[in-house]
């Protein structure tokens, strides 16, 4: 009991100095500078700007097509049609939306996993081995970061159509397995976080290079690998141009391309599909939004790598 009260006492400031009316907005221990309330107003206004479109989307997903056009956009309509919308979304055209969601998951999941593994191997080698062609090789990888993905999509299409690979899952999956930026991040993190002495000690103990990589390096690299995975996952999930160019079979579409197809479809002219595009947009962003909230830590950690280390 005594310990508890002393702990409480240490939390409250010793002297009750007069605090300004906005005192609750800032932490007590700090010196209050005059710009704080203005800054908070600015930040709350900015939060509104960033969140309102998403709030609009959530509200609109509860409306049928009549209410979408007949009621004010930022408040609910006559009745709640969310479940009708969801049912219609997942059953329309024999449930093609399921295909799109699973395709996105396949492309982004497998692409990110594969590119992370390749980046870990290559980044580790660039960081920890001496070999001819090392600096030239890494310069090429760095240069490739500057090559925009969209500039590459058209040439890729021309090439893959020669090989007969267009309009197949490989046309999206295989290019998604290459991430020069991932190699760059893995190299930086490997040089910073795997001590050379540790590798040499393992070698003296007789461990082979692959075993050192598999047991020691992978474990030390794992925070960076999570970040590389997340980056590539979002990049592939968001990629629109590559599947647009490569795919013509609707059953192979990722969700972004599928929704844009509905958005462009002639049926839209009589507003028949609006509720599906709205509800589908909401459903398609939920997985990423959830993962962002859960995995925030990894984003910041990994990003500080990329920006500080050079």
């Amino acid at each position: 009991m005594a310990r508890e009260s002393s702990a409480l006492r240490s939390l409250t400031p010793p002297s009750a100095s007069p605090r300004p009316w906005f005192g609750w907005l800032v932490r007590r221990s700090s010196r209050v500078s005059g710009s704080q309330p203005a800054l908070l107003v600015l930040l709350f206004a900015a939060s509104g700007y960033f969140l309102v479109p998403l709030i609009w989307l959530m509200i609109s997903a509860t409306k049928d097509n009549g209410d979408l056009f007949g009621s004010f956009g930022l408040w609910f309509g006559q009745r709640n049609s969310l479940f009708d919308n969801l049912t219609q979304l997942f059953t329309y055209e024999d449930g093609i939306f399921w295909h799109w969601l699973l395709n996105s998951l396949l492309y982004a999941g497998v692409g990110a996993l594969c590119s992370t593994m390749l980046a870990a191997l290559a980044g580790y080698a660039f960081a920890k081995f001496q070999f001819p062609g090392r600096s030239v090789g890494f310069s090429i990888v760095l240069g490739a970061i500057l090559v925009p993905v969209t500039a590459l999509a058209l040439p890729l299409y021309l090439l893959l159509s020669q090989w007969g690979l267009v309009n197949s899952i490989w046309a999206v999956l295989l290019p998604s397995c290459v991430s020069p930026f991932g190699v760059y991040l893995a190299r930086i993190y490997a040089s910073a976080s795997i001590p050379n002495e540790l590798i040499e000690a393992a070698r003296i103990d007789g461990a082979g290079e692959w075993r050192i990589f598999g047991t020691l390096a992978l474990r030390l690299l794992s925070p960076a690998l999570v970040t590389i995975f997340l980056f590539q996952f979002v990049a592939v999930w968001n990629n629109f141009f590559l599947p647009l160019v490569m795919l013509s079979d609707q059953h192979l579409y990722p969700v972004t391309l599928g929704l844009q197809t509905w958005n462009q479809s002639p049926a839209l002219n009589n507003h028949a599909l609006y509720n599906l595009v709205v509800t589908g947009s909401l459903v398609s962003i939920l997985p990423l939004v959830a993962s962002f909230v859960v995995l925030q830590r990894y984003w910041r950690n990994g990003l500080s790598l990329g920006s500080v280390a050079n």
């Binding site: 932490r27 590459l152 890729l156 021309l158 910041r300």
Partner: protein, 308 residues
């Protein structure tokens, strides 16, 4: 050369085998990189040196002929292409300073020790990055569309009248807004992460010297994160020139977006609507070269600040 220098006898025996190990580590990445990165670029360049020609009366199937730089001459005189490039450059000149300025202000604000609701702001600003570009464009498209938009409806009741977000003058700035919405938080997180990595002692020293919070922000923090600023600026330049998703989506509700509105949209139309793959490849190559020139020019300009 650290490992090699420290144990010469050991490594001389080991070196060639280490090369082999290194190559086998890099091989999987190198193979896919070659196939899906370098070969397509080479292939596009070869394709750009050809033209598809019909002989005689045009009754036979067209043949691919080597025409040297003919496509490049064509592109050089192509006003449609350069109009598009001018448009994205104008767009970028507004878009990049706006996004990075906002991102920097937000990052500095979040980095301040005294701010409340930090977690909320960080998440609220970063969340739009979780929304794919196409979905963001669809979403804002709804907010621009006069028949759906609460913004347009709201303004219609005031004396200002309903704004036209999709007209020929305004649509570029409506696209700009989508991109600000999407990318500000992403850039903010990169800058914020860089700020968090600055050792705190530096601020203490500045404070003892009597520096105010503002002076610390602009004189200490901003110069310290110059490499991160260079990085995000570089990515922004590259992204801007590739503008495609937003205009492609908005084109379904706006008549002001032509099929050659941006260079990327133009090369896409050239390939898939007109079937002229040779010329589309030429446009892709020219665009990539322009992107490279601007990126490297920027890196040279900022060499002293960035240390890259």
């Amino acid at each position: 050369m650290r490992i090699v220098a420290s144990r010469p006898a050991w490594s001389r025996r080991r070196l060639p085998r280490q090369w082999l190990t290194a190559y086998s580590f890099i091989l999987p990445f190198a193979l896919l990189f070659l196939l899906f990165f370098l070969v397509p670029i080479g292939f596009a360049f070869v394709q750009s040196l050809h033209q598809s020609k019909r002989s005689g009366l045009g009754l036979e199937a067209p043949r691919e002929l080597f025409t040297g730089l003919a496509n490049y001459t064509l592109a050089w005189h192509d006003h449609t292409f350069f109009d598009g490039i001018g448009r994205v450059l104008l767009y970028g000149a507004v878009n990049i300073p706006l996004i990075l300025g906002l991102a920097l202000v937000f990052a500095l604000a979040l980095d301040s020790a005294t701010l409340r609701f930090k977690r909320f702001f960080r998440l609220a600003f970063f969340l739009p990055y979780a929304v794919p570009g196409v979905i963001a464009a669809l979403l804002w498209g709804f907010l621009y569309d006069p028949s759906l938009s609460p913004i347009v409806q709201g303004f219609a009741h005031t004396r200002l009248g309903a704004p036209d977000f999709l007209g020929p003058q305004s649509v570029l700035w409506s696209i700009n807004n989508i991109s600000v919405w999407e990318w500000t938080g992403y850039n903010m997180i990169i800058l914020y992460a860089a700020l968090q990595a600055i050792p705190q002692e530096l601020y203490e020293a500045a404070r003892i010297d009597g520096a105010t919070d503002w002076a610390i922000a602009w004189r200490v923090k901003v110069p310290m994160i110059a490499p991160a600023l260079v990085l995000v600026f570089l990515f922004s330049i590259i992204g801007t020139l590739q503008l495609f998703n937003e205009p492609q989506v908005l084109a379904t509700i706006s008549h002001s977006i032509s099929s050659s509105y941006t260079p990327n949209l133009y090369s896409y139309t050239t390939a898939f609507a007109k079937g002229n793959y040779d010329y589309a490849a030429t446009l892709a190559v020219v665009l990539a070269v322009i992107t490279f020139i601007l990126s490297f020019g920027f890196l040279r300009l900022t060499r002293n600040q960035s240390g890259v």
